[in-house]
């Protein structure tokens, strides 16, 4: 595989864009399909060090979308439902690229250190004497403080929520892995048939790919565009 030189990325779209640009490709469905494996490779390598826990789920979702696009290209005979995924991701990536480029311009503007400043203290003429808000009481302070404390909940729950979201995706992968494992030999179209929605289709691919990598299963395709036969190894 072409050696990839990606050192730093901000989010899944940034990574994807860098992969495409590295190969000097335009943003199209075809180029998305062609960088899918590299994307997943990098995801596996960097998940620990470079991707904050809060963002892992987002990286996985893009991986899933890429796999779906690639699968469609490889296995057009399967019933995929409406074709949207490729268009959507292509469009999203193009828009992201526009803002990414704008952000480089903004970065250069800020770096020029062309700053304005506003008045720091109200211009009052005379010194202001001690002036408490007339109606403020200690009970009002207590009530306000309680409100402040309650307002902290969403941010305090954030880490738990992020983890839950990531687990959700990972769990789906392991469910499907189990199913393949139990049925010694199965056709991929069979798995697709059982999938309840597009998300599960995508996740099936993630699972299949991982199982192949771990040498748990092997896949066989007699002719291009024909159904894939999955067999348990050993």
């Amino acid at each position: 595989m072409h050696k990839i030189k990606i050192e730093q990325f901000e989010g899944p779209l940034d990574l994807l864009l860098q992969l495409i640009e590295e190969q000097k490709l335009e943003i199209t469905k075809v180029s998305l399909a062609s960088v899918t494996e590299q994307y997943i490779e990098i995801l596996n390598q960097s998940a620990q060090e470079q991707i904050p826990a809060a963002e892992l789920a987002d990286f996985l979702v893009v991986a899933a979308r890429l796999l779906l696009i690639k699968s469609r290209a490889l296995l057009p005979f399967l019933d995929w439902g409406e074709e949207e995924e490729g268009e959507e991701l292509t469009k999203q990536l193009k828009i992201y690229k526009e803002y990414l480029e704008a952000s480089k311009v903004i970065t250069a503007m800020v770096a020029k250190k062309h700053f304005s400043f506003s008045r720091q203290k109200l211009l009052t003429g005379n010194e202001i004497e001690f002036s408490p808000p007339p109606k403020l009481t200690k009970d009002k302070l207590a009530a306000t403080f309680l409100e402040v404390i309650r307002g902290l909940d969403p941010i305090l729950n954030l880490p738990t929520e992020v983890i839950r979201k990531t687990i959700n995706i990972q769990e789906k992968i392991s469910q499907i892995r189990k199913r393949i494992y139990q049925q010694a030999t199965t056709n991929f179209s069979e798995i697709l048939r059982e999938a309840e929605n597009k998300t599960e289709v995508i996740v099936s691919f993630l699972a299949l790919l991982e199982l192949i990598k771990q040498r748990v299963v092997s896949v066989r395709q007699d002719k291009v565009f024909e159904d894939i036969l999955i067999e348990k190894l050993g």
Binding site: V61, Y99, A102, I106, H114, F115, F117, T199
Partner: protein, 186 residues
């Protein structure tokens, strides 16, 4: 009795916070249209090359600031230690908010493709963005603050390069399929 323009100029001069059109209407006890005209005139008067004072505008808020040409002089004088250093992720987020603000978190996340809760909180704490409840749409929207505008050396968001194009970029609502959004929220 002085005219309205002069009154607004006085208020902008002494305050240390941005003033909204609404507040100016009530302070000067004047009609909205007239306040608006007076503000526009002041902006035209001040925002010229060679002026040492400028007027910045975000939404319906305005603030008087020193001209960006005099950065070093003013910075040294008020002993401000601002360096304007920002991470790549912060700048990416700020850029989208600057061009599209007021913008919802969902829209921001659709463009960046990544959860933005943490970075938004970070930018809020640094005073570079502010949040506002949009009561009609029942959602929170984010926009840049005067503090960020002051870093850019611009007087209004609309002076950003390619503003028209990047501000009116087609809606991204439909970019993510419903199932995908469901997965992300699950």
């Amino acid at each position: 009795m002085s005219n309205l323009k002069s009154k607004i100029e006085s208020l902008l001069f002494i305050t240390n916070q941005p003033l909204s059109v609404k507040r100016l209407i009530s302070l000067t006890n004047s009609e909205k249209d007239k306040v608006q005209v007076a503000i526009d005139e002041l902006i035209t008067d001040y925002n010229q090359a060679e002026k040492g004072i400028a007027i910045q505008k975000i939404g319906d808020q305005i603030q008087m600031v020193t001209a960006a040409d005099n950065t070093k002089l003013v910075k040294d004088f008020i002993k401000e230690e601002t360096t304007g250093e920002l991470t790549k992720a912060s700048l990416e987020t700020l850029t989208i908010i600057a061009y599209r603000g007021p913008v919802s978190r969902a829209e921001l996340e659709q463009i960046r493709g990544v959860n933005c809760v943490v970075i938004l909180r970070n930018l809020l704490m640094r005073g570079l963005i502010e949040s506002k409840e949009d009561k009609k749409k029942m959602q929170t929207t984010y926009n840049i603050t005067f503090d960020f505008l002051k870093f850019l050396g611009l007087n209004q968001q609309s002076e950003l390069p390619d503003f028209e194009k990047l501000n009116s970029n087609e809606s991204l609502e439909k970019i993510l399929s419903p199932e995908m959004s469901a997965l992300e929220q699950s």
